[in-house]
Symmetry: C2
Subunit: 263 residues, 2 copies
Amino acid sequence: MKIATWNVNSVRTRITHICDWLQANPDVDVLCLQETKVIDADFPHTPFTDLGYQTYIYGQKSYNGVALISRSQLQNIQTGFASVLGDLEDPSLDEQKRLITAKFSDIQIVNMYVPNGSEVGSEKYEYKLRWLKLLKNYLKTLLSQNNDVLICGDFNVAIADLDIYDPKGRENKVMATDIERETLAQVLNLGFKDVFRKFETAGGYYSWWDYRSGGFSRNRGWRIDYHFLTQSLCDRATACVIDVEPRKLTQPSDHTPVIVTID
Amino acid sequence: MKIATWNVNSVRTRITHICDWLQANPDVDVLCLQETKVIDADFPHTPFTDLGYQTYIYGQKSYNGVALISRSQLQNIQTGFASVLGDLEDPSLDEQKRLITAKFSDIQIVNMYVPNGSEVGSEKYEYKLRWLKLLKNYLKTLLSQNNDVLICGDFNVAIADLDIYDPKGRENKVMATDIERETLAQVLNLGFKDVFRKFETAGGYYSWWDYRSGGFSRNRGWRIDYHFLTQSLCDRATACVIDVEPRKLTQPSDHTPVIVTID
DNA sequence: GCGCCAGCTG
DNA sequence: CAGCTGGCGC
Protein backbone atom coordinates (compact mmCIF):
# COMPACT_ATOMS: atom_id res chain seq x y z
CA MET A 1 0.00 0.00 0.00
CA LYS A 2 1.04 3.59 -0.61
CA ILE A 3 0.24 6.65 1.43
CA ALA A 4 1.16 10.15 0.29
CA THR A 5 1.23 13.59 1.89
CA TRP A 6 1.08 16.90 0.02
CA ASN A 7 0.62 20.45 1.16
CA VAL A 8 -1.17 21.75 -1.93
CA ASN A 9 -1.51 25.42 -0.94
CA SER A 10 -5.18 25.67 -2.02
CA VAL A 11 -7.02 22.60 -3.25
CA ARG A 12 -9.13 24.69 -5.62
CA THR A 13 -6.22 26.44 -7.30
CA ARG A 14 -4.29 23.16 -7.52
CA ILE A 15 -7.12 20.80 -8.47
CA THR A 16 -5.73 19.98 -11.94
CA HIS A 17 -2.23 19.30 -10.61
CA ILE A 18 -3.63 17.05 -7.88
CA CYS A 19 -5.88 15.03 -10.20
CA ASP A 20 -3.11 14.70 -12.78
CA TRP A 21 -0.81 13.44 -10.05
CA LEU A 22 -3.37 10.91 -8.81
CA GLN A 23 -3.79 9.57 -12.34
CA ALA A 24 -0.02 9.30 -12.74
CA ASN A 25 0.18 7.54 -9.36
CA PRO A 26 -2.80 5.16 -9.40
CA ASP A 27 -1.27 2.88 -6.74
CA VAL A 28 -1.48 5.57 -4.06
CA ASP A 29 -4.21 4.40 -1.68
CA VAL A 30 -4.54 7.48 0.50
CA LEU A 31 -3.45 11.03 -0.31
CA CYS A 32 -3.25 13.37 2.69
CA LEU A 33 -3.71 17.02 1.76
CA GLN A 34 -2.86 20.11 3.78
CA GLU A 35 -3.68 23.78 3.28
CA THR A 36 -6.84 23.10 1.35
CA LYS A 37 -7.90 26.70 2.20
CA VAL A 38 -11.57 26.12 1.62
CA ILE A 39 -14.71 25.76 3.71
CA ASP A 40 -16.32 22.32 3.57
CA ALA A 41 -19.30 23.62 1.58
CA ASP A 42 -16.99 24.66 -1.25
CA PHE A 43 -14.63 21.67 -1.32
CA PRO A 44 -14.28 20.30 -4.88
CA HIS A 45 -15.44 16.71 -4.31
CA THR A 46 -16.40 15.76 -7.86
CA PRO A 47 -12.93 15.92 -9.46
CA PHE A 48 -11.93 13.23 -6.94
CA THR A 49 -15.09 11.14 -6.96
CA ASP A 50 -15.02 11.18 -10.78
CA LEU A 51 -11.62 9.47 -10.53
CA GLY A 52 -12.98 6.92 -8.06
CA TYR A 53 -11.77 8.42 -4.79
CA GLN A 54 -13.56 9.10 -1.54
CA THR A 55 -13.04 12.43 0.18
CA TYR A 56 -12.88 13.21 3.90
CA ILE A 57 -12.47 16.86 4.68
CA TYR A 58 -11.92 19.30 7.52
CA GLY A 59 -11.64 22.81 6.20
CA GLN A 60 -12.00 26.49 7.01
CA LYS A 61 -12.00 29.75 5.12
CA SER A 62 -8.72 31.07 3.63
CA TYR A 63 -6.26 29.22 5.84
CA ASN A 64 -5.27 25.71 6.88
CA GLY A 65 -7.67 22.86 6.16
CA VAL A 66 -6.83 19.17 5.70
CA ALA A 67 -8.34 16.34 3.67
CA LEU A 68 -8.00 12.62 3.05
CA ILE A 69 -8.42 11.38 -0.53
CA SER A 70 -8.80 7.60 -0.52
CA ARG A 71 -9.35 4.83 -3.06
CA SER A 72 -11.33 2.85 -0.46
CA GLN A 73 -13.68 3.86 2.30
CA LEU A 74 -11.96 4.93 5.49
CA GLN A 75 -13.26 4.21 8.98
CA ASN A 76 -13.65 6.26 12.15
CA ILE A 77 -12.98 9.72 10.78
CA GLN A 78 -12.07 12.11 13.59
CA THR A 79 -11.29 15.78 13.14
CA GLY A 80 -9.49 18.16 15.48
CA PHE A 81 -8.07 17.40 18.90
CA ALA A 82 -11.36 17.32 20.79
CA SER A 83 -12.77 14.43 18.78
CA VAL A 84 -10.09 12.25 20.37
CA LEU A 85 -9.33 14.05 23.63
CA GLY A 86 -12.76 15.41 24.56
CA ASP A 87 -13.17 19.01 25.71
CA LEU A 88 -9.91 20.93 25.59
CA GLU A 89 -8.42 23.03 28.36
CA ASP A 90 -7.39 25.47 25.62
CA PRO A 91 -10.13 25.40 22.96
CA SER A 92 -8.19 27.85 20.77
CA LEU A 93 -6.03 24.89 19.71
CA ASP A 94 -8.99 23.51 17.78
CA GLU A 95 -10.07 26.78 16.20
CA GLN A 96 -7.82 26.19 13.20
CA LYS A 97 -8.57 23.11 11.11
CA ARG A 98 -5.29 21.21 11.05
CA LEU A 99 -5.95 17.62 12.04
CA ILE A 100 -7.86 14.68 10.59
CA THR A 101 -7.42 11.00 11.35
CA ALA A 102 -8.99 7.81 10.01
CA LYS A 103 -8.42 4.08 9.94
CA PHE A 104 -7.16 2.64 6.66
CA SER A 105 -6.90 -1.15 6.79
CA ASP A 106 -4.95 -1.81 9.99
CA ILE A 107 -3.28 1.62 10.01
CA GLN A 108 -4.40 4.69 11.91
CA ILE A 109 -3.48 7.55 9.58
CA VAL A 110 -3.09 11.01 11.09
CA ASN A 111 -2.93 13.87 8.61
CA MET A 112 -1.76 17.17 10.09
CA TYR A 113 -0.77 20.70 9.27
CA VAL A 114 1.37 21.93 12.14
CA PRO A 115 1.21 25.72 12.74
CA ASN A 116 4.01 27.62 11.00
CA GLY A 117 4.92 29.81 13.95
CA SER A 118 5.47 33.02 11.96
CA GLU A 119 8.45 34.44 13.87
CA VAL A 120 10.48 33.14 16.78
CA GLY A 121 9.04 34.48 20.03
CA SER A 122 5.77 35.65 18.46
CA GLU A 123 2.30 34.78 19.70
CA LYS A 124 2.00 32.40 16.73
CA TYR A 125 5.27 30.73 17.71
CA GLU A 126 3.94 30.08 21.21
CA TYR A 127 0.73 28.73 19.69
CA LYS A 128 2.78 26.31 17.59
CA LEU A 129 4.59 24.99 20.68
CA ARG A 130 1.32 24.60 22.62
CA TRP A 131 -0.20 22.86 19.60
CA LEU A 132 2.70 20.37 19.44
CA LYS A 133 2.39 19.68 23.17
CA LEU A 134 -1.28 18.88 22.81
CA LEU A 135 -0.44 16.74 19.78
CA LYS A 136 1.60 14.53 22.08
CA ASN A 137 -1.41 13.85 24.31
CA TYR A 138 -3.56 13.29 21.25
CA LEU A 139 -1.16 10.72 19.80
CA LYS A 140 -0.73 9.02 23.19
CA THR A 141 -4.46 8.39 23.14
CA LEU A 142 -4.42 7.09 19.57
CA LEU A 143 -1.44 4.84 20.36
CA SER A 144 -3.36 3.34 23.27
CA GLN A 145 -6.11 2.39 20.84
CA ASN A 146 -4.09 1.30 17.77
CA ASN A 147 -1.06 -0.84 17.11
CA ASP A 148 0.00 0.82 13.88
CA VAL A 149 -0.05 4.59 13.62
CA LEU A 150 1.23 6.69 10.73
CA ILE A 151 1.43 10.45 11.17
CA CYS A 152 2.16 12.57 8.15
CA GLY A 153 1.79 16.07 6.84
CA ASP A 154 3.47 19.43 6.92
CA PHE A 155 5.22 19.61 10.29
CA ASN A 156 6.75 23.05 9.72
CA VAL A 157 9.91 21.87 11.48
CA ALA A 158 13.15 20.72 9.85
CA ILE A 159 14.14 18.03 12.32
CA ALA A 160 17.87 18.07 11.48
CA ASP A 161 20.41 20.41 9.87
CA LEU A 162 20.62 17.87 7.04
CA ASP A 163 17.07 18.84 6.17
CA ILE A 164 17.84 22.50 5.39
CA TYR A 165 19.78 23.65 2.31
CA ASP A 166 21.67 26.21 4.39
CA PRO A 167 21.47 25.55 8.13
CA LYS A 168 23.63 28.56 8.99
CA GLY A 169 21.87 30.68 11.59
CA ARG A 170 19.01 28.21 11.78
CA GLU A 171 18.91 28.50 15.60
CA ASN A 172 17.02 31.77 15.25
CA LYS A 173 14.85 30.81 12.32
CA VAL A 174 11.32 29.59 12.73
CA MET A 175 10.98 25.92 11.68
CA ALA A 176 14.53 25.21 12.79
CA THR A 177 14.97 26.40 16.38
CA ASP A 178 16.13 24.02 19.08
CA ILE A 179 12.93 24.53 21.03
CA GLU A 180 10.77 23.53 18.06
CA ARG A 181 12.94 20.50 17.38
CA GLU A 182 12.84 19.44 21.01
CA THR A 183 9.11 19.92 21.29
CA LEU A 184 8.55 17.83 18.18
CA ALA A 185 11.09 15.25 19.41
CA GLN A 186 8.95 14.86 22.54
CA VAL A 187 6.11 13.88 20.25
CA LEU A 188 8.15 11.51 18.12
CA ASN A 189 9.66 9.90 21.23
CA LEU A 190 6.29 8.28 21.72
CA GLY A 191 7.63 5.78 19.20
CA PHE A 192 7.58 7.37 15.74
CA LYS A 193 10.31 6.83 13.15
CA ASP A 194 11.18 9.14 10.26
CA VAL A 195 10.73 6.49 7.57
CA PHE A 196 12.44 8.59 4.89
CA ARG A 197 15.72 8.17 6.81
CA LYS A 198 15.33 4.39 6.76
CA PHE A 199 16.20 4.58 3.07
CA GLU A 200 18.21 7.77 2.63
CA THR A 201 20.84 9.20 4.96
CA ALA A 202 22.18 11.96 2.70
CA GLY A 203 21.16 15.60 2.69
CA GLY A 204 19.86 17.57 -0.26
CA TYR A 205 16.38 16.06 -0.14
CA TYR A 206 13.65 18.60 0.44
CA SER A 207 9.85 18.80 0.30
CA TRP A 208 9.33 22.58 0.39
CA TRP A 209 10.97 25.43 -1.50
CA ASP A 210 9.92 29.00 -0.68
CA TYR A 211 8.22 30.81 -3.55
CA ARG A 212 10.34 33.80 -2.62
CA SER A 213 13.94 33.93 -3.80
CA GLY A 214 13.46 31.37 -6.59
CA GLY A 215 14.64 28.65 -4.26
CA PHE A 216 13.52 25.62 -6.25
CA SER A 217 15.77 26.03 -9.30
CA ARG A 218 18.77 26.17 -6.97
CA ASN A 219 17.34 23.43 -4.70
CA ARG A 220 17.24 25.82 -1.77
CA GLY A 221 14.68 23.80 0.11
CA TRP A 222 13.67 22.40 3.45
CA ARG A 223 12.42 18.92 4.36
CA ILE A 224 9.43 19.70 6.54
CA ASP A 225 6.88 17.18 5.20
CA TYR A 226 7.21 13.75 6.75
CA HIS A 227 5.81 10.33 7.36
CA PHE A 228 6.49 9.22 10.93
CA LEU A 229 5.61 5.56 11.57
CA THR A 230 5.42 3.41 14.65
CA GLN A 231 8.24 0.86 14.75
CA SER A 232 6.47 -2.25 13.45
CA LEU A 233 4.95 -0.20 10.64
CA CYS A 234 8.33 1.32 9.81
CA ASP A 235 9.73 -2.22 9.64
CA ARG A 236 7.15 -3.03 6.96
CA ALA A 237 8.03 0.05 4.86
CA THR A 238 9.83 -0.73 1.60
CA ALA A 239 10.27 2.81 0.27
CA CYS A 240 9.79 6.48 1.00
CA VAL A 241 10.30 8.96 -1.80
CA ILE A 242 9.87 12.65 -2.44
CA ASP A 243 8.34 13.29 -5.87
CA VAL A 244 9.74 16.62 -7.02
CA GLU A 245 7.92 16.59 -10.37
CA PRO A 246 4.82 18.56 -9.31
CA ARG A 247 7.04 21.35 -8.01
CA LYS A 248 8.31 21.82 -11.61
CA LEU A 249 4.90 22.55 -13.10
CA THR A 250 3.58 26.04 -13.79
CA GLN A 251 1.77 27.57 -10.82
CA PRO A 252 2.91 24.81 -8.47
CA SER A 253 2.35 24.41 -4.78
CA ASP A 254 5.47 25.36 -2.83
CA HIS A 255 5.45 21.80 -1.40
CA THR A 256 5.72 18.50 -3.25
CA PRO A 257 4.37 15.02 -2.39
CA VAL A 258 6.10 12.52 -0.15
CA ILE A 259 5.06 8.87 -0.62
CA VAL A 260 5.65 5.91 1.67
CA THR A 261 5.22 2.28 0.54
CA ILE A 262 4.24 -0.30 3.16
CA ASP A 263 4.12 -4.05 2.59
CA MET B 1 -5.66 51.49 -43.97
CA LYS B 2 -7.37 49.94 -40.96
CA ILE B 3 -7.83 51.40 -37.53
CA ALA B 4 -9.25 49.40 -34.65
CA THR B 5 -10.52 50.21 -31.15
CA TRP B 6 -10.73 47.74 -28.28
CA ASN B 7 -11.42 48.16 -24.59
CA VAL B 8 -9.32 45.25 -23.35
CA ASN B 9 -10.11 45.50 -19.61
CA SER B 10 -6.46 45.10 -18.50
CA VAL B 11 -3.72 44.89 -21.09
CA ARG B 12 -1.66 42.57 -18.89
CA THR B 13 -4.43 40.05 -18.31
CA ARG B 14 -5.41 40.18 -21.99
CA ILE B 15 -1.95 40.29 -23.59
CA THR B 16 -2.24 36.87 -25.27
CA HIS B 17 -5.69 37.64 -26.69
CA ILE B 18 -4.48 40.99 -28.02
CA CYS B 19 -1.32 39.62 -29.67
CA ASP B 20 -3.24 36.69 -31.15
CA TRP B 21 -5.74 39.16 -32.55
CA LEU B 22 -3.03 41.36 -34.05
CA GLN B 23 -1.48 38.34 -35.75
CA ALA B 24 -4.87 37.30 -37.11
CA ASN B 25 -5.43 40.88 -38.33
CA PRO B 26 -2.06 41.91 -39.76
CA ASP B 27 -3.58 44.64 -41.92
CA VAL B 28 -4.67 46.71 -38.92
CA ASP B 29 -2.38 49.73 -38.88
CA VAL B 30 -3.31 51.22 -35.54
CA LEU B 31 -4.99 49.51 -32.61
CA CYS B 32 -6.44 51.84 -29.98
CA LEU B 33 -6.67 50.27 -26.55
CA GLN B 34 -8.68 51.40 -23.54
CA GLU B 35 -8.68 50.30 -19.91
CA THR B 36 -5.07 49.18 -19.96
CA LYS B 37 -5.15 49.44 -16.12
CA VAL B 38 -1.42 49.69 -15.73
CA ILE B 39 1.12 52.37 -14.89
CA ASP B 40 3.51 53.25 -17.71
CA ALA B 41 6.47 51.61 -15.94
CA ASP B 42 4.71 48.24 -16.02
CA PHE B 43 3.23 48.37 -19.54
CA PRO B 44 4.07 45.16 -21.48
CA HIS B 45 5.88 46.69 -24.48
CA THR B 46 7.85 43.66 -25.66
CA PRO B 47 4.93 41.45 -26.72
CA PHE B 48 4.03 44.24 -29.16
CA THR B 49 7.51 45.26 -30.25
CA ASP B 50 8.33 41.58 -30.84
CA LEU B 51 5.49 41.55 -33.37
CA GLY B 52 6.79 44.71 -35.03
CA TYR B 53 4.52 47.32 -33.45
CA GLN B 54 5.28 50.62 -31.81
CA THR B 55 3.58 51.46 -28.52
CA TYR B 56 2.37 54.83 -27.26
CA ILE B 57 0.93 54.73 -23.78
CA TYR B 58 -0.83 56.83 -21.20
CA GLY B 59 -1.63 54.78 -18.15
CA GLN B 60 -2.39 54.87 -14.45
CA LYS B 61 -2.73 52.39 -11.64
CA SER B 62 -5.77 50.06 -11.54
CA TYR B 63 -8.17 52.08 -13.63
CA ASN B 64 -8.48 53.64 -17.07
CA GLY B 65 -5.37 53.98 -19.22
CA VAL B 66 -5.18 54.17 -23.04
CA ALA B 67 -2.59 53.10 -25.60
CA LEU B 68 -1.87 53.22 -29.31
CA ILE B 69 -0.34 50.14 -30.92
CA SER B 70 0.92 51.02 -34.40
CA ARG B 71 2.69 49.29 -37.27
CA SER B 72 4.42 52.55 -38.19
CA GLN B 73 5.74 55.42 -36.16
CA LEU B 74 3.11 57.93 -35.12
CA GLN B 75 3.66 61.68 -34.92
CA ASN B 76 2.81 64.35 -32.36
CA ILE B 77 1.68 62.18 -29.47
CA GLN B 78 -0.42 64.20 -27.02
CA THR B 79 -1.93 62.86 -23.84
CA GLY B 80 -4.72 64.27 -21.73
CA PHE B 81 -6.70 67.45 -22.31
CA ALA B 82 -4.03 69.87 -21.17
CA SER B 83 -1.52 68.84 -23.83
CA VAL B 84 -3.90 70.32 -26.39
CA LEU B 85 -5.82 72.92 -24.39
CA GLY B 86 -3.15 74.16 -22.00
CA ASP B 87 -3.90 74.57 -18.32
CA LEU B 88 -7.38 73.46 -17.41
CA GLU B 89 -9.96 75.39 -15.42
CA ASP B 90 -10.86 72.05 -13.81
CA PRO B 91 -7.64 70.02 -13.53
CA SER B 92 -9.54 67.04 -12.07
CA LEU B 93 -10.60 66.26 -15.65
CA ASP B 94 -7.03 65.24 -16.44
CA GLU B 95 -6.41 63.23 -13.29
CA GLN B 96 -7.69 60.07 -14.94
CA LYS B 97 -5.75 58.86 -17.96
CA ARG B 98 -8.36 58.59 -20.69
CA LEU B 99 -7.12 60.41 -23.75
CA ILE B 100 -4.27 60.00 -26.23
CA THR B 101 -4.00 61.42 -29.72
CA ALA B 102 -1.45 61.11 -32.52
CA LYS B 103 -1.07 61.72 -36.21
CA PHE B 104 -1.14 58.65 -38.44
CA SER B 105 -0.52 59.52 -42.09
CA ASP B 106 -2.94 62.39 -42.76
CA ILE B 107 -5.33 61.38 -39.98
CA GLN B 108 -5.46 62.74 -36.46
CA ILE B 109 -6.46 59.73 -34.37
CA VAL B 110 -8.01 60.38 -30.96
CA ASN B 111 -8.27 57.36 -28.68
CA MET B 112 -10.49 57.86 -25.66
CA TYR B 113 -12.08 56.13 -22.72
CA VAL B 114 -15.07 58.23 -21.70
CA PRO B 115 -15.96 58.02 -17.97
CA ASN B 116 -18.62 55.43 -17.22
CA GLY B 117 -20.71 57.63 -14.93
CA SER B 118 -21.53 54.95 -12.36
CA GLU B 119 -25.13 55.91 -11.54
CA VAL B 120 -27.41 58.58 -12.90
CA GLY B 121 -27.13 61.69 -10.74
CA SER B 122 -23.98 60.55 -8.95
CA GLU B 123 -20.80 62.57 -8.61
CA LYS B 124 -19.24 60.29 -11.24
CA TYR B 125 -22.15 60.97 -13.58
CA GLU B 126 -21.57 64.71 -13.28
CA TYR B 127 -17.86 64.14 -13.91
CA LYS B 128 -18.72 62.26 -17.10
CA LEU B 129 -20.83 65.15 -18.35
CA ARG B 130 -18.14 67.71 -17.51
CA TRP B 131 -15.57 65.48 -19.23
CA LEU B 132 -17.66 65.32 -22.41
CA LYS B 133 -18.10 69.09 -22.39
CA LEU B 134 -14.37 69.60 -22.18
CA LEU B 135 -13.93 67.00 -24.92
CA LYS B 136 -15.86 69.30 -27.23
CA ASN B 137 -13.39 72.15 -26.70
CA TYR B 138 -10.50 69.72 -27.08
CA LEU B 139 -11.81 68.43 -30.43
CA LYS B 140 -12.62 71.95 -31.62
CA THR B 141 -8.94 72.74 -31.20
CA LEU B 142 -7.84 69.59 -32.99
CA LEU B 143 -10.28 70.27 -35.82
CA SER B 144 -8.80 73.74 -36.25
CA GLN B 145 -5.41 72.11 -36.77
CA ASN B 146 -6.33 69.05 -38.86
CA ASN B 147 -8.52 68.30 -41.85
CA ASP B 148 -9.14 64.65 -41.06
CA VAL B 149 -9.93 63.60 -37.52
CA LEU B 150 -10.95 60.14 -36.32
CA ILE B 151 -12.14 59.73 -32.74
CA CYS B 152 -12.63 56.26 -31.41
CA GLY B 153 -12.81 54.31 -28.20
CA ASP B 154 -15.21 53.35 -25.46
CA PHE B 155 -17.71 56.23 -25.27
CA ASN B 156 -19.83 54.67 -22.52
CA VAL B 157 -22.93 56.03 -24.25
CA ALA B 158 -25.33 54.10 -26.49
CA ILE B 159 -26.21 56.86 -28.93
CA ALA B 160 -29.54 55.35 -30.07
CA ASP B 161 -32.10 52.85 -28.83
CA LEU B 162 -31.04 50.64 -31.73
CA ASP B 163 -27.71 50.25 -29.97
CA ILE B 164 -29.14 48.58 -26.83
CA TYR B 165 -30.50 45.02 -26.76
CA ASP B 166 -33.40 46.12 -24.56
CA PRO B 167 -33.92 49.89 -24.52
CA LYS B 168 -36.89 49.66 -22.16
CA GLY B 169 -36.35 52.01 -19.23
CA ARG B 170 -33.10 53.26 -20.74
CA GLU B 171 -33.98 56.88 -19.84
CA ASN B 172 -32.89 56.20 -16.27
CA LYS B 173 -29.92 53.99 -17.05
CA VAL B 174 -26.41 55.30 -17.14
CA MET B 175 -24.96 55.14 -20.68
CA ALA B 176 -28.42 55.71 -22.17
CA THR B 177 -29.94 58.81 -20.60
CA ASP B 178 -31.11 61.69 -22.75
CA ILE B 179 -28.67 64.05 -21.07
CA GLU B 180 -25.69 61.81 -21.89
CA ARG B 181 -26.86 61.40 -25.47
CA GLU B 182 -27.36 65.12 -25.87
CA THR B 183 -24.03 65.99 -24.32
CA LEU B 184 -22.26 63.55 -26.65
CA ALA B 185 -24.34 64.82 -29.60
CA GLN B 186 -22.97 68.30 -28.90
CA VAL B 187 -19.51 66.85 -29.39
CA LEU B 188 -20.38 64.92 -32.53
CA ASN B 189 -22.12 67.96 -33.99
CA LEU B 190 -18.67 69.42 -34.51
CA GLY B 191 -18.76 67.29 -37.65
CA PHE B 192 -18.28 63.64 -36.67
CA LYS B 193 -20.11 60.76 -38.36
CA ASP B 194 -20.81 57.33 -36.85
CA VAL B 195 -19.12 55.41 -39.66
CA PHE B 196 -20.59 52.07 -38.57
CA ARG B 197 -24.03 53.38 -39.58
CA LYS B 198 -22.74 54.22 -43.05
CA PHE B 199 -22.75 50.47 -43.72
CA GLU B 200 -25.30 49.00 -41.32
CA THR B 201 -28.66 50.44 -40.34
CA ALA B 202 -30.08 47.46 -38.46
CA GLY B 203 -29.97 46.85 -34.70
CA GLY B 204 -28.53 43.85 -32.93
CA TYR B 205 -24.91 44.92 -33.37
CA TYR B 206 -23.09 45.44 -30.10
CA SER B 207 -19.53 45.97 -28.88
CA TRP B 208 -19.95 45.35 -25.14
CA TRP B 209 -21.74 42.63 -23.19
CA ASP B 210 -21.82 42.86 -19.40
CA TYR B 211 -19.97 40.04 -17.63
CA ARG B 212 -22.89 39.93 -15.23
CA SER B 213 -26.05 38.14 -16.33
CA GLY B 214 -24.33 36.07 -19.04
CA GLY B 215 -25.35 38.63 -21.61
CA PHE B 216 -23.09 37.55 -24.47
CA SER B 217 -24.59 34.13 -25.16
CA ARG B 218 -28.00 35.79 -25.52
CA ASN B 219 -26.53 38.80 -27.36
CA ARG B 220 -27.71 41.13 -24.63
CA GLY B 221 -25.23 43.82 -25.53
CA TRP B 222 -24.72 47.51 -26.06
CA ARG B 223 -22.94 49.36 -28.85
CA ILE B 224 -20.80 51.84 -26.93
CA ASP B 225 -17.48 51.54 -28.82
CA TYR B 226 -17.34 53.70 -31.92
CA HIS B 227 -15.34 55.28 -34.67
CA PHE B 228 -16.56 58.82 -35.37
CA LEU B 229 -15.02 60.39 -38.49
CA THR B 230 -15.04 63.83 -39.97
CA GLN B 231 -17.10 63.94 -43.17
CA SER B 232 -14.40 63.68 -45.83
CA LEU B 233 -12.79 60.84 -43.92
CA CYS B 234 -16.13 59.09 -43.56
CA ASP B 235 -16.58 59.41 -47.31
CA ARG B 236 -13.32 57.50 -47.77
CA ALA B 237 -14.39 54.66 -45.44
CA THR B 238 -15.13 51.37 -47.19
CA ALA B 239 -16.08 49.25 -44.17
CA CYS B 240 -16.69 49.28 -40.43
CA VAL B 241 -17.11 45.97 -38.67
CA ILE B 242 -17.41 44.63 -35.14
CA ASP B 243 -15.33 41.50 -34.64
CA VAL B 244 -17.18 39.43 -32.04
CA GLU B 245 -14.67 36.56 -32.09
CA PRO B 246 -12.46 37.74 -29.19
CA ARG B 247 -15.52 37.96 -26.94
CA LYS B 248 -16.00 34.18 -27.43
CA LEU B 249 -12.60 33.24 -26.00
CA THR B 250 -12.03 32.10 -22.43
CA GLN B 251 -11.38 34.98 -20.03
CA PRO B 252 -12.36 37.58 -22.60
CA SER B 253 -12.61 41.30 -22.25
CA ASP B 254 -16.24 42.39 -21.92
CA HIS B 255 -15.70 44.51 -25.06
CA THR B 256 -14.73 43.39 -28.56
CA PRO B 257 -12.82 45.20 -31.33
CA VAL B 258 -14.39 47.57 -33.87
CA ILE B 259 -12.42 48.08 -37.09
CA VAL B 260 -12.78 50.78 -39.71
CA THR B 261 -11.26 50.56 -43.20
CA ILE B 262 -10.34 53.81 -44.95
CA ASP B 263 -9.17 54.07 -48.55
C1' DG C 1 6.03 34.64 -4.66
C1' DC C 2 1.70 33.20 -4.37
C1' DG C 3 -2.29 31.80 -2.03
C1' DC C 4 -6.41 34.08 0.53
C1' DC C 5 -9.92 38.01 1.59
C1' DA C 6 -12.59 42.49 1.56
C1' DG C 7 -13.71 46.41 -0.91
C1' DC C 8 -13.69 49.02 -5.05
C1' DT C 9 -15.17 49.77 -10.21
C1' DG C 10 -17.59 48.71 -14.12
C1' DC D 1 -18.65 38.46 -13.34
C1' DA D 2 -14.14 39.99 -13.64
C1' DG D 3 -10.65 43.30 -13.39
C1' DC D 4 -8.01 46.01 -9.69
C1' DT D 5 -5.85 47.19 -4.75
C1' DG D 6 -4.06 46.49 -0.10
C1' DG D 7 -3.35 43.55 3.77
C1' DC D 8 -2.53 39.04 5.77
C1' DG D 9 -0.12 34.52 6.03
C1' DC D 10 3.60 31.54 5.05
